[in-house]
Point group: C2
Chain length 786, copies 2
């Protein structure tokens, strides 16, 4: 959806003359006339993105501390006890996030294991009795019904619950608020939908959704409950700001990863490496606490279920591929196949990203057609999946059991590594072992060690081909779906294939090859290194694997990076979320913020003591969320006004609305006293963002009154001088977490406005800048390394 | 040394009147008159700190990209091939850092194991023959000689090589350059000194020094070799800037940690959590690559030495406490002793920090007296250590060997867990097991599992008491010394004691109690969590320990934080290094940068085209490293000058010196053309920082000439408006990595200087601000939680 606009890049005009006004002409001796502007266009700031499946209006978040007089008063009046309350509450919330995420993760696992378990048991019964058709009908129907449930919930109640949610969380932590992302409905739909979708045997995991669930829990806890039934507890008000909510959601996302993989350190690192934009060591510590709580909860729940209290939920469900008992021996020669896996992972991972991108675009077109189309798409995929899972094992030949194995062979129950399926006794069907089971168990089976000859090439090839297709076509449907598991399944298949081909030529166990394959594809597609390494370490519980895992991950990421960006970046881009990268593009050094401000509509400023009428007019006619407050310079009594002006600061739209709503108007143009403000507003009021200009009723008499904006103005807004390059401004914008950046003139003079522009996130996006200054693009190719 | 100045805090004056000039009076309606300034003082910026043992002049680093016209030209003219060269070289350097650190770590271990090993063997021989006095003389003499070597090297050749070096690296990555920290001499002295000091049996480790060694290697590689024999390779010039050097040193420090503990992920996380100030995910990846190389090198060297090629170097040396074979079973009840260990660790850790602080102050006084005093101090500590290590085991009683044990008992050689020492055959001396060995082996012995009754309380108490004393008094002497090992030894002692006391009441092995004790004291003193957790995970190779390790670390850190800051912060403070914390103090919200700029000497500005005489004068009379460049506003021909001025940017002292040195002077006041600059300077010149003003010869005729400063001026300096609070300015300063921050006026008017001040690192330090505005201190207690 982002590519239409660049089509206009041909009709750009020559160097614009307007710049000379700004006093820039003197630089021409050194400045080559590089700046050719696409004359017809102004910098667009349409804050639209795909949320759920439809295009919605998105808002930026305010991670900057709004230091106005009221805030300072509030902070000064906070007693030591209140500060301690705040700290205590912060840790309590971190604890609760971990606790609830852990409990919900345990419940989800419990539900999936039982639903999928009883379904598989019934199907196994039909097959045992050779009632193949009835088995197929039963299997397909149950899967269709479960898919229908998951899909209908997502389509009708919470479109934001579809997909993994990780890109949106990433965007949120970068400063972009997508609506309805962290609500109660989303949470509920995500939980139920995830259970249904995974139980339906679709090629998707509960890992991504768990991350989203963790973040939802964190967000809801922080605001004291669902939107309409919030606890108005005084303590909780400290958390009613974007900064504290950001920290909580970071905690929530790492708890989610931890719950998905039972990997506390991996969870923290995942949040650090992939999800979070800002990070502080205090946050590292609190996040770590949350994940520790999750691990303890999961351990307790498994302890409880060990005694058979949880139906079919046993060891399964929580992926833990314990390969600690495998002796890891490898020689220098083994580096070669390991490197090969890395290269394959990189190539396939980037290919996967590329194809998924195409398919998601097609799916977007289908999904735009309406709710019914969405439902039908999900059901089609479910039908195809069921048919393949059920039918393909019949193609595989039966293998006689190896009597030297310690494991039970063949098995007929729900779990087990050697499924009898349609085979005579004493034989097993290796493809059924992989397909007639839950995805978690499939992974466990393909990772199984000391079973070198278990799988035939043919079965592995079918398995790989099937999951390639399913992995591409399942992700975009309207159900809660994670990306981790499909990628693990695909990766493990080719890893195990390679291991099987090498056979006796390698010292490394075939199960480990599967693990390395999974790791390589993850790195090739998601482009994480340290966090994946730790997650795999914690999954496999074998530290001796570390060096080769590192090697595989490094190679796969390097190879993948040669072709395209990571899958999350692709999805962010596809959704049109204005994510700000850590690195400015190199060409951004050739354009200044002043030039950007020039191609925007003139900045709308307010005076320190402003007429109500003007405020209402400004709010009605613009959609800006911040306005510079400019004062005439005060002169001593008896002197004439000099016409000089000064910048007082920045006032937020929300605070203007608050003033209008509370009708804090003055009869005359005068400065207010401190007590007047404090009488009317508390810092809690300032945090509310609920009123809209259409809802504010202002009478005609009110319009003639005045408002003293000084006490509500953030006097310490971050500013840049107009000569600053966009590259550096972007670094400031991202590092400090801004929403508005004021552009100041570089020269002094009477009659000069003390602020020449205001830049927001949208203005700093590479794509938006390039649409106005297309000539910069040619430099784009020369992207500087990092 | 930082406390003398605050003594002056009594004579502060009332609210200063000067502020009204700045147009601040209008704010008084809300601003309570909080700002009482300590009238006699101006903001001091003496950039002095203790480096080695003497007070030296320190410089700030420039992590900002200096975007002047030349830089832009340079960047524009870089071809794609050059960018690829740069990326390739970056990875090559990361590889080399890992390789060299690994090799040097292996050599250090080899040397220590052999030197200490032959020494201990000889002593064991004497004792075997009951020649106790000869044994003592031999033991003490060898230790004294080794200490003398280490100490003399540090005292006479490289004072910066003494101590761990981690605080200085931390400061470097924060933006403070301590001289002679990363030179060749320092590296050599650190390597040899560390070998000698550890072999001398002193209570110190090679872990801290290894971190410093890794950083030295990284720095030297980045600059192409030692200062006076640099490789002038064209490629390497890309790295001749503070930013790339910072990245390399981050790589080096994590390689060092990795080499110390064979913990690749722990090394990365240590650098992330404790050492680095800025972090990017690209750096995470490259650092991870370096540590992977280190691990491979260490593994290869161990593989090579396994066949007896390395003298006495066997499995020992590289600490790896593999407890993976211990079955970890614990019940809910075991949480209690684990929590107790955490609390003890927190209390003892903060107590240790407190006492060490006191002792280091005393040591500083001794060390200031001269080189001989430093030497004598080291030798005294060595003598005391030798006496205790040799003598104390005679106090312990002999224990009969448990025949059910699988380990050899008693042993007489260099290693072994049950040393016979002075005991009859069939008996062992448990204290000799801990004291008559290298520190690494002592740790391995006290961590040993399945040996519940090995150590008696009495021995453990003596061991604990001894290492408490040694740990406090050894650290400050003039030899390369790490803090990790002393803390591990102390912590493991009380951990094991607790385990022994609990005996059968606990399910956790006594060896694991020792591990947990060590972890708790580390967390209590160093206040790290995630990285310690991963280091212990990688050390013990047992993931099932994870939840209880996390618990211990979290409790110990929380308890410790109640009392004092981490040991590294204490040392940084003691050395007077101007480290900028991530969090501004809360009271910084009550003071603006304008107020800070007011109490500094007036800012020295230069004009865009400046007389040589003025530049020389400014450089001779100030020590500033950056000067704002201010131009008269250009008016169209035929108009009168308006007297209005504009800010062009910031020029660095180094670049002014460069201009003077190259004599790039103009006869008349005119703007230069681009080719004129490029003819004279390359961007490589700009990176050099070698000339001093005293060395520049300028004739009297030159003085009357002009220089066009425009092309060398950084036009995109970061700026703040004078109304911005110091808290927010500090966030900007640290997040973006500034050296100079320009303060702009908030109002517009002719005759107003476009820059009202310039703030540097020293101006933003809490301590310096408080010495001028002492009233702010009362708010200090109310430190906001993070």
């Amino acid at each position: 959806m982002d590519e239409e606009q660049t089509g206009a890049s041909n009709n750009y005009m020559e160097e614009e003359a307007a710049d000379t006004e700004q006093g820039d002409s003197e630089n021409n001796s050194l400045h080559t006339p590089l700046l050719k502007r696409n004359g017809n266009l102004t910098l667009s700031s349409t804050p639209l993105a795909t949320v759920g499946a439809k295009v919605s209006h998105i808002e930026s978040l305010d991670y900057e501390i709004n230091e106005n007089d009221l805030f300072k008063q509030d902070w000064r009046s906070r007693s030591k006890a209140q500060v301690l309350q705040y700290i205590f509450l912060k840790w309590t919330l971190a604890f609760l996030v971990g606790l609830l995420t852990g409990v919900i993760a345990a419940l989800i696992n419990l539900a999936i294991e039982n639903i999928a378990g009883y379904k598989l048991l019934a199907v196994a019964n039909y097959i045992d009795k050779q009632n193949y058709v009835e088995g197929f009908v039963y299997f397909t129907t149950v899967n269709l019904l479960l898919t229908l449930l998951a899909s209908a919930l997502c389509v009708f109640f919470a479109p934001t619950a579809a997909g993994p949610g990780i890109p949106e969380i990433k965007a949120y932590l970068n400063g972009v608020d997508t609506p309805h992302m962290f609500g109660t409905t989303t949470l509920m739909v995500k939980i139920v939908g995830s259970i249904a979708a995974v139980s339906a045997g679709l090629d998707l995991g509960k890992e991504g959704p768990l991350v989203h669930i963790g973040s939802c829990i964190a967000s809801l806890l922080g605001q004291g409950g669902p939107d309409n039934h919030r606890i108005k507890w005084r303590w909780l008000r400290y958390f009613n700001n974007d900064r504290d909510r950001r920290d909580l959601i970071t905690c929530g996302s790492s708890s989610g990863v931890c719950a998905a993989f039972r990997s506390p350190v991996g969870g923290v690192l995942f949040a650090l490496e992939e999800v979070a934009t800002w990070w502080r060591s205090a946050l590292l510590w609190r996040t770590f606490f949350s994940t520790a709580v999750v691990v303890v909860v999961l351990r307790l729940s498994m302890e409880y279920c060990k005694n058979g209290n949880c139906g079919l939920f046993g060891q399964g469900g929580l992926i833990l591929f314990d390969v600690s008992d495998v002796s890891v021996r490898y020689h220098v020669v083994d580096i070669i196949p390991v490197a090969v896996i890395g290269v394959i992972g990189g190539v396939l991972g980037s290919l996967y990203n590329h194809l998924l991108h195409k398919i998601l675009r097609i799916y977007n077109l289908i999904n735009e057609k309406g709710k019914l189309h969405k439902l039908l798409l999900s059901l089609t995929v479910s039908l195809f999946t069921s048919a393949c899972l059920y039918g393909l094992p019949f193609l595989a030949s039966c293998t006689p059991c190896d009597p030297s194995l310690q494991e039970a062979c063949p098995t007929t129950g729900r779990v087990g590594n050697f499924k009898q399926f349609n085979c005579p006794s004493g034989h097993y069907n290796d493809l059924a072992t992989l397909l007639h089971t839950t995805n978690d168990d499939a992974v466990r089976n393909i990772f199984s060690t000391n079973t070198a000859t278990e799988f035939q090439y043919f079965s592995l090839i079918i398995f790989f081909a099937l999951y390639c297709i399913l992995g591409l076509f399942t992700f975009g449907i309207a159900v809660p779906s994670g990306l981790f598991l499909p990628i693990i399944l695909m990766g493990s298949a080719y890893g195990r294939m390679l291991g099987t081909i090498l056979g006796d030529y390698t010292k490394i166990d075939q199960g480990l090859y599967a693990v390395l394959g999974a790791a390589s594809l993850m790195a090739g597609s998601m482009r994480m290194t340290v966090s994946l390494c730790v997650i795999f370490l914690e999954l496999t519980n074998n530290l001796l694997l570390l060096p080769i895992t590192m090697l595989v991950l490094l190679i796969a990421k390097t190879v993948g990076d040669c072709f395209n960006p990571s899958i999350y970046e692709i999805i962010l881009d596809l959704k049109g979320l204005p994510f700000l990268d850590a690195h400015p593009e190199p060409w951004m050094r050739n354009i200044t913020v002043g030039e950007l401000a020039d191609v925007k509509p003139p900045v709308v400023t307010l005076r320190g003591i402003e007429k109500v009428g003007r405020i209402v007019e400004v709010l009605r006619n613009t959609t800006h969320n911040g306005f510079p407050v400019v004062d005439d310079r005060e002169v001593p009594l008896g002197h004439l006004p000099t016409g000089e002006r000064e910048l007082h600061g920045l006032i937020l739209r929300a605070h203007l609305l608050l003033v209008l709503n509370k009708k804090w108007f003055l009869q005359v143009r005068r400065r207010t006293k401190e007590w007047e403000v404090r009488e009317k507003f508390t810092s809690v009021d300032l945090a509310e963002r609920l009123v809209k200009i259409e809802e504010v009723a202002v009478t005609k008499d009110d319009m003639e009154m005045y408002v003293d904006l000084h006490p509500l103005t953030n006097t310490t807004a971050y500013t840049v001088v107009e000569t600053m390059s966009v590259a550096k401004a972007l670094v400031l914008f991202r590092e400090v977490g801004l929403r508005h950046m004021l552009v100041l003139p570089k020269f002094q003079g009477s009659g000069v406005s003390p602020v020449v522009g205001i830049l927001t996130r949208q203005d700093l996006r590479a794509h938006n800048i390039l649409s106005v200054f297309p000539h910069l693009e040619k430099a784009k190719a020369m992207k500087e390394g990092n």
